[in-house]
Symmetry: C2
Subunit: 348 residues, 2 copies
DNA sequence: TTTCTAAATACAATCGATTGTATTTTTATT
DNA sequence: AATAAAAATACAATCGATTGTATTTAGAAA
């Protein structure tokens, strides 16, 4: 069964102008509520536009104005709690300033990230907020944005030595706090699950771990640092490695919750008691962290605040294109959420 | 410290044409690899374009072609596992067909949903894939899309009596399976956490629940159905209500995992044993469902498949604009993931 | 070499809205 | 009523790419 569809309505300002026997520039100004048009004419235009079912073509408008009032956001995966809450913060701040947000995910692939940047630039977004993929090692792929003068602000995962502003989590402090917390709970042999080393965030979390050990007089042993992509399976692998170590491990600081939780599940299956035998700290405060038993101690990154701040800075830069400000670098402290995975009985 | 920024490069095909002393139409065709241009000229154009740092302006291109090769997706929240996996499926299918995807979240607000639709239409996306907010009661706000001839496909949460294609989860079956599973585990007094009733999905899950009771000779009692928005706090509230009921409840079927998990946590705190005292089934297979103890039995909706299917149908409709096909309605069965929250000791 | 055809390129209109300038209309002033 | 000033509207160019048609060029056949 097929019907011929009624032709799509493609009313333009010219059609309205013709219907009212006035000029399309007046229609345009009326629709934009310009002071150069009488109230009376505005009313006539608005009424006719409504009658005719007019809908502005933003492609044409944006082309003419070379401004889209849109910013693009690229994150590795929207499903991660930290990223989706950062996006919420970005949307909030953008909405206040009358901007739209285009959300994109790189799926941790460099090639996709590059492609997305080019598409956003080709669509003339006014700015880009970016948290890089695990495969990204430098900022060369931002060249297309730079060439077009599109402002870019990093958040959380960033590249080093670039001339872009960034809003970062204080990963060093987070790593330090996590580790020192474990030490204060009595842990001595603490394993660290780290991520891809080209990402500053993992480097810094590790440095915090090292510093906390040092400050507390515990020697750093590189064999206790496990590098991986911190996926679920990596957590399980890491847990297996721990059980095979000659040394009796009594603490884990994982650079993310996903692998911490996977490790906990595996360890529990093997009869290890948490926190009694091994205490665990994660990073990011995923929803699951509050659900697992014992509830996972973790670092909350207030993604919302980071997203808002990144957006503010982006707008500053968009509105100050003519002058180049020294790139800003803002660091936001994560807060340690102490939960049962580190609550030794002795504390009671 | 301020510097004057180098002017943004705004090279157009006209600049390339001038540099090569040829016409811009030839440049355009060369860049689009048209057969009307010699290999030699194409090579010259490509080289020069690269040299000059040319980047196509998609606003202009799309305006002229009145085609954006972009589809918009609107979901209530990207952070929900079902939606982010549906988006993954959509992006996969779209990418294969050379389309870009714009992801938007309504945050469960009708006004935002309406606004997003209008913006997408104004930006002339080629189609929209939509899962409505909890506040949405009908499809009137899709008028702007209909007027412009923009194809729309619903998935999961849809409106009734509309002329749009939809890809749905078999919510009735899911509700039925969940409830019957509880009954088979020996539950007799089963509470159902339902969602906003204007949403078909919750209506259908409830109908499945009723049908399973009926089939198994258990009388339906409306006082055992709790309506809410199924947020975390609602789960806690519902759990409290259960504890206050005169009847001894031995099973819960929640229309989503979020509230099921919140309820479990509260019940456990009150000393209720799950599944021994009360068995619980959720819906959606959120990551936390596998993490809570006991692991939550739930219905997996294969969001990825639903997303892919919705995209396929959307493309069919985009490519067949001239004829109106009868709207399709595809139903995909969810699968019951049996986990410990319903594993009665007697089963062992 | 001339002529014809096909291939390559140039010309110009177009997509729909915006905006600086020019023109007309209205209002105020004398 | 005449004139100046202000307000409202019209005109036309423009944003950057695409595309139907016209023209030029190159190659083949006579």
């Amino acid at each position: 069964m097929k019907f011929i569809v009624s032709q799509p309505n493609n009313i333009t300002i010219h059609d309205i102008a013709e219907a009212l026997q006035i000029n399309s520039s007046t229609v345009s100004r009326a629709l934009n509520n310009s002071s150069r048009v009488t109230q009376k004419t505005k009313a006539r235009v608005l009424k006719k536009a409504d009658e005719m079912g007019y809908q502005r073509n933003l492609l044409a408008s944006n082309l003419r104005k070379s401004k889209t009032n849109t910013i693009g956001v690229i994150v590795p995966r929207i499903s991660r709690h930290f990223f989706s809450s950062a996006i919420a913060g970005i949307e909030e701040a953008a909405y206040e300033s009358g901007y739209r947000v285009i959300i994109c995910q790189s799926m941790e692939q460099f090639s996709r990230e590059k492609d997305l940047i080019e598409t956003l630039v080709a669509n003339r977004v006014d700015g880009i907020i970016l948290s890089i993929s695990m495969e990204t090692t430098n900022a060369k792929h931002l060249e297309s944005a730079r060439v077009k003068g599109t402002s870019v602000v990093f958040f959380d995962r960033h590249c080093d030595g670039t001339n872009y502003s960034k809003v970062l989590n204080d990963d060093f402090q987070g790593g330090f706090d996590a580790t020192e917390h474990l030490i204060k709970q009595g842990c001595q042999n603490i394993v660290h699950f780290s991520g891809p080393q080209q990402l500053k965030i993992y480097e810094n979390r590790k440095k915090g771990y090292q510093q906390a050990l040092k400050k507390n007089g515990i020697p750093y042993r590189s064999e206790l640092v496990f590098n991986s992509k911190l996926m679920e399976k990596d957590g399980v692998e890491n847990a297996k490695k721990i059980l095979q170590l000659p040394l009796k491990i009594d603490g884990i600081f994982s650079a993310n919750d996903i692998s911490a939780i996977a490790a906990m599940q595996h360890l529990k299956k093997q009869g290890i008691q948490i926190p009694k035998d091994i205490s665990v700290v994660g990073f990011s405060n995923e929803p699951s962290a509050a659900v697992i038993e014992p509830a996972l101690t973790t670092l909350d990154q207030s993604g919302r605040k980071i997203g808002q701040k990144a957006t503010e800075i982006l707008f500053e830069e968009i509105n100050n294109k003519s002058v180049l400000h020294k790139p800003k670098s803002i660091v936001i402290k994560p807060s340690l959420l102490q939960r049962s995975s580190t609550q030794r009985a002795s504390d009671h």
